[in-house]
């Protein structure tokens, strides 16, 4: 209806308050059509509230919310072209699977025969054929999950909202469903907005991820950007594992670590700024002290190994550098001997693999 570049969901300066609690704080967000978009953050950060505002189950206190260019601010949920997969599925216990799945179509006024036909098609798509007559409590958790998906997708929503849809499943089933969800999304080409507090799940499934904390949107980007270029300490810490080393900016090339060591770390911050250097365990190299390559002299530290954990495909060393322990993960190569605890070694890293984030304030 509008030009092609219209976002599926467009959130502008949206705030949601519950009494004194600010659940969502001035969030700006564009979700593209056909995108697999994850909202990631710790418990209570406002993910569900954001999702519920898109669904119309909650109305924003301030700001504008558009779905495909249409302002939906206080439109009731039944008037919005979106559907939700609820955290605990919320299947209707008094209806069988077929009636559950055809509910949305029936409410839209589709006649019973057409609705049943389309529902059956969807039930087959999520591989539940033959279970149409069962009640929800006669299905396993994974099957209920798929009913919830079918019940939402049969309405051909323009955006599908999923609130921790895999939260209640065990690990194996969870991984299967991740793959299944992802391929379903590709097949249908519908935008999925997926809420989770599991960063690994978000990283593996999503085109883009929004990281939230305390109602604020900290960063939006693709998994690689979030992993390698976090905007602040919180994101760096939340996405994947990392070593966060406190430091002070000396100049635009150098920072000073806690024990006075200067290391090379190009950064845009004014001298004296408190920062943290994020070093991923797998981007740190380890070796004898005299083995530090000359080009890495200015990005190295000496330390003592305090523990060694062998993980099969890799070895994780805990290295004490004077004032703090760092985690270092190196591939386990057959035939190459490993260091023992107590060994005095050096660690170094590539000049491009560190990442400097402001220490205070989540917005940088």
């Amino acid at each position: 209806m509008t030009e092609q570049s219209t976002s599926a969901v467009s959130i502008n300066g949206v705030t949601k308050r519950f009494g004194d609690v600010v659940a969502v704080d001035n969030v700006n967000l564009e979700i593209a059509d056909g995108e697999f978009f994850a909202m990631l953050g710790p418990s209570g950060c406002g993910k569900t509230t954001t999702l519920r505002m898109i669904a119309g189950l909650e109305f924003p206190t301030e700001g504008s919310l558009q779905i495909f260019g249409e302002e939906v601010g206080t439109l009731p949920p039944n008037k919005r072209p979106v559907n939700t997969v609820f955290q605990n599925y919320a299947l209707f216990p008094h209806m069988n699977i077929l009636d559950n799945v055809s509910f949305g179509l029936r409410m839209k006024g589709v006649d019973k025969k057409t609705a049943s036909a389309q529902a059956n098609e969807m039930i087959d798509l999520v591989r539940l054929g033959g279970m149409e007559k069962r009640r929800p409590n006669q299905l396993s958790g994974g099957q209920q999950q798929r009913v919830a998906l079918a019940r939402a997708l049969v309405n051909k929503p323009k955006v599908l909202l999923l609130d921790e849809p895999l939260g209640a499943l065990d690990l194996k089933l969870r991984q299967d469903m991740q793959t299944e969800l992802k391929s379903l999304q590709r097949e249908l080409g519908v935008s999925f907005v997926f809420v989770t507090h599991d960063q690994e799940e978000a990283l593996t499934m999503s085109d883009r991820i929004a990281v939230m904390h305390d109602g604020q949107l900290l960063q939006v980007g693709n998994p690689e950007q979030l992993y390698s270029q976090p905007v602040n300490r919180f994101v760096a810490d939340f996405i994947g594992q990392t070593n966060l080393i406190d430091a002070t900016v000396a100049d635009d090339e150098m920072i000073v670590l806690a024990n006075g060591t200067k290391v090379r770390a190009p950064n845009p911050h004014p001298p004296g700024t408190k920062v943290a250097m994020s070093l991923r365990p797998e981007s740190i190299m380890i070796g004898d002290r005299e083995a530090v390559p000359s080009e890495s002299q200015s990005t190295s530290l000496s330390g003592v190994i305090s523990s060694v954990v062998y993980l099969g495909h890799s070895v994780v060393y805990t290295v004490n550098v004077d004032w703090m322990p760092l985690e270092v993960r190196v591939p386990a190569v057959a035939g190459v001997s490993r260091y023992e605890a107590g060994a005095e070694i050096a660690i170094w890293w590539d000049r491009l693999s560190d990442w400097i984030v402001p220490d205070e304030g989540y917005r940088g």
Binding site: A55, G56, L57, P76, P77, N78, V82, N83, T84, F86, N88, A90, L91, F92, P93, H94, F103, G104, M107, K108, R135, N137, R151, A152, N155
Partner: protein
């Protein structure tokens, strides 16, 4: 060791005797009542051989029949109204947060706690004042009768209905209604197709409870009843005052049977599909 065992044995024995006594205490009167309702003797407590005469008299006695018909009319009508009002009140209190929510919550339990006599006096006072007012202002004259009895029954039944329905609503996940709304159901349709079917056992249970209470009530009814609005329990009460006849036994047995049946149905209804809302 052995002493404790003996003590335990003693305690057990005492408890068993106690249980037996309690049951005797409970059920002996009922057994006697039922037995003497079949006794062919004009004195209530004397066995004169088996007869169905008293039940026949129950069926033929015009006064009893009138009272029964009043009882049924009042019970059915007051139940119908109180189910509608009680369910609506339950929905409002359980699903909507509004100012004074807590206050109304407490108010709703009041009729359950208030002694019958107090309630009766309150209702009587209320109707008297209302009738005086209507007479003085509009010149319309009302008298106590079927309407006052029914209104009083509605007044106390609402509480019972809404307590039972609320228990059901509280156990029902609110997300289900949201899911219905998300699936294009209007508020009304969400209620009609999701909420209502799920609380129906509670509504039916509440209705049966209201029916039972209405059929059993003596105290309140007696205060607000007028000529021609004597219910069966009130009639029985009147009979006793005039002197006991075994006819009372027969009427009582019928009322007892009806009450037990209704309470059982009510329990069954409340339990029905209890597992599905978890």
């Amino acid at each position: 060791m052995s002493t404790t065992k003996q003590l335990r044995g003693g305690a057990k024995w005492a408890l068993s005797v106690n249980a037996v006594l309690v049951y005797v205490f409970f059920y002996a009167p009922i057994a006697l009542l039922v037995m003497y309702s079949f006794s062919n003797d004009n004195l209530v407590g004397r066995w004169g051989g088996f007869t169905l005469d008293w039940y026949r008299a129950f069926g033929e006695n015009q006064e009893v029949q009138n009272a029964l018909s009043v009882s049924l009319k009042v019970a059915l009508f007051s139940t119908l109204i109180s189910v509608i009002l009680g369910t609506t009140a339950a929905l409002a209190l359980e699903r909507y947060r509004f100012r004074g929510n807590r206050f109304f919550d407490a108010l709703l339990y009041l009729p359950v706690i208030i002694p019958d006599v107090t309630m009766a006096v309150m209702m009587l006072l209320f109707f008297t004042q209302l009738f005086n007012f209507l007479d003085a202002v509009f010149g319309i004259r009302f008298a106590k009768g079927l309407a006052t009895v029914t209104l009083s029954h509605i007044a106390f039944s609402i509480s019972f209905v809404s307590i039972v329905v609320r228990a059901r609503l509280a156990g029902m996940n609110e997300t289900l209604e949201e899911a219905a709304r998300d699936l294009y159901a209007s508020r009304w349709k969400a209620f009609r197709y999701v909420t209502l079917p799920l609380i129906t056992p509670g509504v039916v249970g509440g209705a049966l409870l209201a029916l039972t209470i209405s059929l059993d009530d003596v105290v309140i009814t007696q205060f607000v009843a007028g000529p021609g609005s004597t219910t069966l329990p009130v009639y029985v009460f009147g009979l006793i005052r005039r002197g006991v006849s075994p006819l009372i036994n027969a009427v009582s047995v019928v009322m007892l049977a009806a009450s037990i049946l209704l309470v059982l149905l009510s329990l069954l209804a409340q339990r029905a599909r209890g597992g599905t809302t978890a």
